[in-house]
Amino acid sequence: MRTEDHRDWKLSLGAYALGDLPADERAAVAAHLEGCEECRAELCSLEGVAALLPLADPDRIEGPAVRPPADLGARIEAQIAAESAREGRVRRRRRFRLGVGGAVAAAAVAAVLAIAILPLGGGESSPAQQVKFASLPNGVSIDATLEPHAFGTEIEMYVSGVRSGTLCRVFLRDAQGRTYSAGSFRYRWGADSHAQLSSALDLSQAKVVGVHAGNRTFTAPVDQATALIGGADFDAT
């Protein structure tokens, strides 16, 4: 077969793959395909794309280009900068508490940080504890840090992956199964989703921390043993 013939056949393969050839031409291409391995391979690579075309909506293809608003990038950067500053604060506080609570192992660190600890007015005997919410549904993430106070327990909670507007009611539970409310917050898209809550239950009495998020409830055990040695920096996740 002459090369230019083969080239002509090949140029018909697009229309063939799309099923847009008239019946007689279609039959002729099919006959050529029988005897031409190269054209068969070419057809194969076009057919996958041709099969996807019906998914596309021609009006959307020709419609005006969809572009994000010019200031969206700046808004995202501002939000991340704010989160970053706030997280930096939280991490520093936790490091300081490690200095206070982790007596022996952290003695050297404590010495270095001694000046920084003072303004925070330490003096608490048990440090903050991060609890672990296990077996969360895919996409949902919850972090909570508990901190003992004279009034009870301060809870810092971060939730993501539930629907925007979900009412989250946070509670602590003691060994007898009694529930102590720690207040509520609403999860909002894009907003700072860290909530500061507090409960009257003393951290040393707490067995469980939980959150009712919409119609679902998630809980995590409070470990009294690690409540005393915990509070370590948990940058590593």
Partner: protein
Amino acid sequence: MGALTRERDVREAYAAHSGELYGFAVRSLGDAGLAEEAVQETFLRAWKAGDRFDPEIGSLRTWLFAILRNVVIDLGRARAARPRVAEGGVEPSVEPLEQALLAWQVEEAMRRIGEDHRRVLLETHFRARPYSEVAEELGVPEGTIKSRVYYGLRALRVALEEMGYED
């Protein structure tokens, strides 16, 4: 590792991928305001989980699209839950979203190929117009229409491959 932990990395990722992410968000949510929220939430989640991104495993683009996909599902649920409780309490299926992503990718690929190729594919295939009619309208021989369909499909395949498509 940790390719998205610095704010500067987020800026670069935004510059490179926000257009596509936003385009897909609009396509699947059908609302510009929600699409903005979705893109914002996507970059925020990406930054928070930045140290879990491993460029050895996959591209940043694929990772961002995976996050956006979850965000869109969450937003879709939030919207579906608002007016009424779904009958039987069935979770929204994931399938239409995968299809929306694929559809959007095909549309985006169509926008990326040359104008001549796009025009011919739109008129002959999507609008089912005869090759002879389109040839006359464009003032070119019918054979040219046929070859543009062929090269258009090939270009489309390349554009889709750039977006991660493989068959």
